[in-house]
Every structure is written in C-alpha cells, then in structure tokens.
Symmetry: C2
Subunit: 444 residues, 2 copies
C-alpha cells in the first residue's frame, strides 16, 4: 500500500493540500472500524487512511475501502437491528469505531420512510411509493449524515477546528455538529447571503466568516487555507475529510433497505448536486447485496436536477460521458453546482442500472413541493421538489415503471426555502369573524 507522501505528487498545490496533516496524525485501526484504506476511484491505488482526498498517482478522488464483515448476514442483521435509532446502527459498515454511538454527535439518521399512498394515487403509481424524508434529521437535511462521519474522522486525526464553505444546509450542519462534539467551527459563506440563512449558520456560536465575493471565491479561498499553515489542524468536512464525509450518504441506502424489510427498492430517485450522494447510495446498495443482507436483484437509479442547473441531465440525454459545466440559475440552490465532481460517475450508474437523469423547471419544482405537502404532509426543500417533480415526469415519459417499488428522496426542509413557495402560497380567504362572512366565502 502506498503512503501518500510528497514524492508521489505531481502538482504542487494539490500535493500540499492532499498530504496536509497526514504525518502528524496518529490513527489506530480500530478508529476506522471496517475501513482499511483509501482507494483511488480512477486508478485503484491504495493509501493509508488519512486526511487526504486526491490520489498521489493520478489525482483521482479517493474513497474509503473496507474489509466488511461477511459470512454471517443473519448475525449482522440482528446486530444492526439491536443498534441505536440513528446512523450508528450501521457502524459495522462505516469508517467509524465500534463504540461511535457513545461519542457526542447529533446522532442523525433513521429518518422516516413514508409510504406515500396518496402521492402514489396522484402520480398513477400502482406499486409501492415511498418518500425517504431526511428533513427529520437534527438540522433538517441529509447533511447531518455526512458531517457526522467527517466529525468522527476529524476526532481521529486530532483536528480541533471543523470548517466548510457553504451557502446553506452544510453551514448549519457543521455548526451544530461541532457544537455538540465540542469542536471549534469556522464556516465560510458569501458575505451577501440572505439574513435568514446567516442566522441559521451563526446561531451555533462558531466563527461564521463572510467572504467578499461569490461562492466560487469562497471555495478558492478555502483551498488556499487548507494549503497554508493557518489551516493547520482544520478539518474541512467536504475537502480534506471528503472521503469519510461522502460515506455518510451510504446510510440512506442502508436505511431504505432495512425500512423496506431488508429489501431492495426497484427504483430510487435521487437529487444531484455534486453527484456524490447518488454514487454513495449505489455503493451502499451493492454492499448490502454483497453481504447477503438483501437479495441480489436489479435496481434502477434515477438522478434528478433542476433545469436551471442540469449539466448531468443534459449529458445523459445527449449520450455524453463528459459533463459540460453550466452557470446555475434555479431556485433549487442546494443543488446548484454547475460543475458536479461526480457527474461522470452518476452517468455511469444511471446507464448501468437502466435508470435515467431528468430535470424539471422551477415552476415544476414549486408545484411538486406543494403536491408532496398536500398529499403527504411533508414540506420539502426545493431539492425535494426536484425529485418529486422528476418522478412525475419520468412516469409520464414511461421511464419509471409505476407498478414497481419506488423510493423518492427528500433531502431537506421547506422551512429553509420558504421563498420558493411564498409567492404562490397564501390564505384561501380573508373573512370577517362572523358566520355570515364564512358562508359568503363558500367555506361551509
């Protein structure tokens, strides 16, 4: 196994970022549970577990490789079911120590899988339709899952500050997780973010730094900081802790299957921002099959984007393997990544599984948010409007089979994107406080 040391690096900037802190950290094997290495997704080269994120040989993205517990699926299933009602029940399948549940964390996950019969009727679904509602997480988005794993890695590497760049959900998730776990946090945002989002990010009491510039400027600055002595001891959850962070999304796959009674769904509709979540859900499903926790059968993965930021959907429809960056312009801000790092992997998974990638207009996003709210009482963030809207479109276009078992992801909470629905959501009537006025309004 290669040590990720500077001599293997070819580009100075990336190299200094990639190896930051690896030699100062002391990690015991037990700290990462079944994880045994980081593995390059492009060339397959392996590296010791450390706070690195790019392959020293080919600069491909690194991901966690495991030696998973095999041979006793029934025992493993029982162990999981006896675990806590959060993602730590899956500790045997994650890069975390076996006793992770006892360490302070927000304990996210095990959110509701809602059997959406009323939505199914409206969409003409005759099979089972489920909504995996991740607005039930502690800070009300799926980000709590990924951040929880990153925090655990940060703890192992001896980092003392948790950081990220963000325009929304991630800032709150990092601020809250750092507070619970006793880390300092320092989150970077564009200085002109809406007041409500600033409050949600700042209330946890960490440092919140507004950067004079746009989101790209914020990211560029963070990359500089990681390579600088000033960033020493800092864990950027989605940069130098990214391989661990990403693994948190696997828990969505585990929970969906367990909540279906240890059964694979036939079809899953997943939103695409960077594309990481979709690829990790696929990874999680494959692990469950390999471990014998679910039956080995085909499943289709569908990706969902907003038309105003649809680089992956555009590439899918054009039959391309390469994703051409776009300048985002959509109300679905949490999905507005114009140059999604995992885009090519998403294309591959959608094609390999027989799924598709589709997009919907902002108007369709709003309609879908309201459809989900009035049929199931779930008030989704715009990203949830994207997945529900895309599901509707896929059924209409004959790409998603309405007679099968389908799971649609809602990854966030409508309270955080009130502006999206506000212009078209109001009282049905304003009346005087009298029965006559009530009758005149036709409400009786």
């Amino acid at each position: 196994m290669a040590k990720c040391v500077p001599r293997k690096m070819r580009r100075k900037g990336l190299a200094s970022m990639a190896v930051q802190s690896v030699e100062s950290s002391t990690t015991s094997a037990a700290a990462f549970g079944p994880a045994v290495a980081l593995s390059c997704r492009e060339c397959g080269e392996r590296f010791d577990l450390g706070p690195i994120f790019a392959c020293g040989s080919c600069f491909g993205p690194l991901e966690v490789a495991y030696d998973l517990p095999s041979g006793d699926p029934e025992g493993l299933r029982k162990q999981i079911e006896a675990g806590p009602d959060n993602i730590w029940r899956y500790a045997p399948l994650l890069p975390v120590p076996a006793d992770v549940a006892a360490l302070p964390s927000l304990s996210p996950g095990f959110t509701q899988l809602v059997k959406a019969d009323r939505l199914a009727r409206e969409l003409g679904v005759t099979g089972e339709l489920h909504v995996k509602d991740d607005s039930g997480n502690p800070t009300h988005s799926f980000k709590d899952r990924v951040v929880a794993i990153a925090v655990q890695a940060a703890r192992t590497f001896g980092f003392t500050t948790l950081s990220c760049s963000s325009t929304g959900n991630l800032a709150g998730a990092v601020g809250a997780a750092a507070a619970r776990a006793g880390f300092r946090s320092c989150v970077f945002i564009p200085h002109d973010l809406e007041a409500g989002k600033v409050v949600m990010a700042a209330v946890y009491g960490g440092e919140l730094v507004g950067i004079e510039g746009n989101y790209d400027d914020v990211n560029r600055f963070c990359s500089e900081l990681i390579g600088d002595p000033a960033g020493e001891g800092w864990g950027f959850v989605n940069v130098n802790l990214r391989p661990y962070y990403g693994e948190g999304s696997k828990t969505l796959a585990y929970e969906i299957c367990e909540q279906l009674g240890w059964r694979l769904p036939d079809q899953i509709v997943i939103p695409i921002a960077s594309g990481s979540q979709l690829t990790k859900i696929d990874k999680g499903l494959k692990e469950l099959i390999k471990l014998g926790l679910v039956e080995d059968k085909p499943y289709k993965i569908f990706g969902a984007q907003a038309e105003g930021c649809s680089p992956v959907s555009t590439a899918f429809k054009a039959g391309h393997d390469v994703v051409r960056p776009q300048k985002p312009n959509t109300i679905a801000k949490s999905l507005a990544i114009g140059n999604p790092a995992d885009g090519p992997y998403v294309l591959d998974i959608a094609r390999r599984t027989g799924g598709a990638v589709e997009d919907v207009t902002d108007e369709q996003v709003v309609d879908a948010i309201k459809l989900l709210a009035r049929t199931e009482g779930i008030f989704a963030e715009t990203a949830g409007g994207v997945t529900v809207g895309v599901t509707k479109k896929l059924i209409e276009d004959g790409l998603l089979d309405p007679s099968l078992t389908t799971v649609v992801l809602n990854t966030g909470d409508g309270l955080k994107t009130l502006d999206a629905v506000a212009p078209t959501t109001g009282p049905s009537a304003i009346i005087r406080p009298t029965l006559d006025s009530f009758r005149e309004a036709g409400l009786a």
Copy 2:
C-alpha cells in the same frame, strides 16, 4: 355513567358546543383502546367517549379515563419496546386502537433525549442533564403528538374536516396531519400574520382562512362555528377533540422515562402555555408508576414562562391558587396565552411535587437559545429558550438541584422563530478572500 345530553346542560352556548355530534357518531370500544370514558377533572362525573369537552354537570374540563393493562409490567415493557419508533409504541396507554400504527399519520414522537453534558458544565450541573428535543417531530414541534391523537379521534367520530385556530405551530401540525391522513383541513389565523408563518400553514393545501381581527376574535369565531350547523362534521383539535388531543402530551413522559432506561427523572422543566402539557406529563409519569414500569419515587415538576406572559409564575410566587390573566407581550409567541386554562392545575402539581414555576425576560430567552445552540447544537424555538433560561435561573436560585437527573423540554424549532435571534446573530467577520485578510481578522 352519565350520557352527556342537553338536559344535563345549564348554559346554552356551552351545552350546544359540548354535545355537538355526539349522538351521530358510532364508536366501538376498540377504537379507543384502553380508554373507557371521559371524566370531569372537577367533579369526577363520567361520560361516554365522544366529541365533548366540558362536564355536563359542572362545566369542568373533561379528560380521558382508562382501564390500563396492569399486572404484567415486564410484558408491557417488552410490548412497547417492540413497537414502532414513534408515539404509537405507547398505543396500549393511549385512547387509540391497537392497530393505530397501520393507519396513515405523521407518526410523530420518539424524538431524541439528548444527554447535554456541555450544557450541564455551563450550568454547573453535576448530575445528568438531558434535553428532550421535540424539534425532531415531523413539523418540528410537540404539536404533532397531540394532533396525531386528535386525528385518530376525528376518524372514529366520522369527522371529515380538521380545524383549529392558531398563530403558529398548531396550524402547520394540523395542515400536515390532515394531508397525510386524507382529511380536509380548515385552519383559522389572524389575517395579519407574518408572511413566513402564513406559508408554513398554507403549504399543505388545506383551507387557510385569515380572520379580520386578533387571535381572540379568531377563537371567538371558532367557538361560534362549532355550535353552528356550518361546523357539523368538523373536528377542532383543541376544542371538541381537546380531551383526546391533550393525551398526546403524555407520550413525552413515556419517552423520557423509557429513554432514561425506564427510570423517572428527578426534575423536569416544562414550558407553560395553556398548562395542558405540564399536567399531562404529570399524568403520564403517574401512570408509569402505577403500572410498575418505573420505580415509585418522588419527582419534581417545574413550569417555565416568559416574563412578558407569566400569569402562572406570578401566581406561584404570590402563593395564590388562582391565576390572574395577563395581556401577553413576549417574543415567546407559542407560550403567549394570557389566561391559561390549566393554570390552577399547574400550580397544584408544582407545589405537590416540590417544584416551582419561574419566568425569564425576553433577553434571557435569546441568551438561552444561543447557549443551547452553542453547547449542544440544538436550535430551539423561543419556548426552548424559556425552559433553558428558567433552568439556569432555578439553579442559580437554589430551587433546582444540580446534582440530580434533570430533563429540560425543547418543544419547537428555531427555524420558526428566526426573528427572535436575528438582531444579535451574525457573522463574526467579513473579510476579503485572501489569507492576509484572514490573518488580519485574527481568525488564524
């Protein structure tokens, strides 16, 4: 057992409200599980289970009376533990049918009991301190618990419309629960409610009616509607379904004890709006003792109010049994009930258990919201600021023993009361996207 029929009524208005629909409904005993009657809290007279809320003899409030499953605490405990991860695990102790979990509902409850070690250190608590965080419910407040029970009663009584008057959390909880369960909903609000709150209430697609008037006008109108043919078939969750609705709060007591390992806490700090929640938590704790699910030992119940609406706290400190109404003026809007119906019962419970009722200023509420956020990563609604603030004050005043096991309730979500903290919550620095600027700001 008395039938609650008009001849027993003495005041026409209340009588017509109280008996509305009772004779048209057909209920089987199984529909209410272990509940056997409604019982007057004042005179003890019993009535058949029906959509009534005031005693036909003395006009006292009615509450649900049970024939609870006794004699096999170990079996009952196992039955509960094998149940679903929501309030329906306690179906054997609630006025609901045994198969309630299979009926469509938001499935609220079993929210996290957070061991708040970092908050404990700040408050000088040397014993165990826990926060029961009900922001984890589907619409992010404890109202989902009470509404879920009311919806089940509405189903049994054959009601087709769910209704309430509200200025906040309840509107969303009713709208969402009605949507999931397939009821029509019609929620009444003051016409000049803030835009964000209107969106949260309207998004679920039911009727949302703005009333030209203040909250008192809205309530008066609802009382008229219940007594009018136009309100036939309507279940007002906190009026004609109130006895059932209130029982939902018992689940907070059950969960706290189960999550403590079937153990009573020594002290609980509960917010007071109408006071119903506090009385029902006490009822729930007493039931657990009687059933042998927890050890019979003393516990103290503390009530928390905001100074700007502190009628119960004022009466407690003055040693009065009667609560004198106040005109609310506080940022803790969800607790702003100036004439709390259950105020006298709260006084009785606080005194009987050796607890107290205390209040804090709006400034202390904001400080406490931030304290909880920065120590535990929980962003509470103003009501959560009230309980945490009061806990701090009670410890400082020597009324709450910091060496014991204490549970503090957070009943709602900070995302719904952003305005409370917005003026004092912002970025710690605004910098240019350069390392120099970063260092100048003293952030390195």
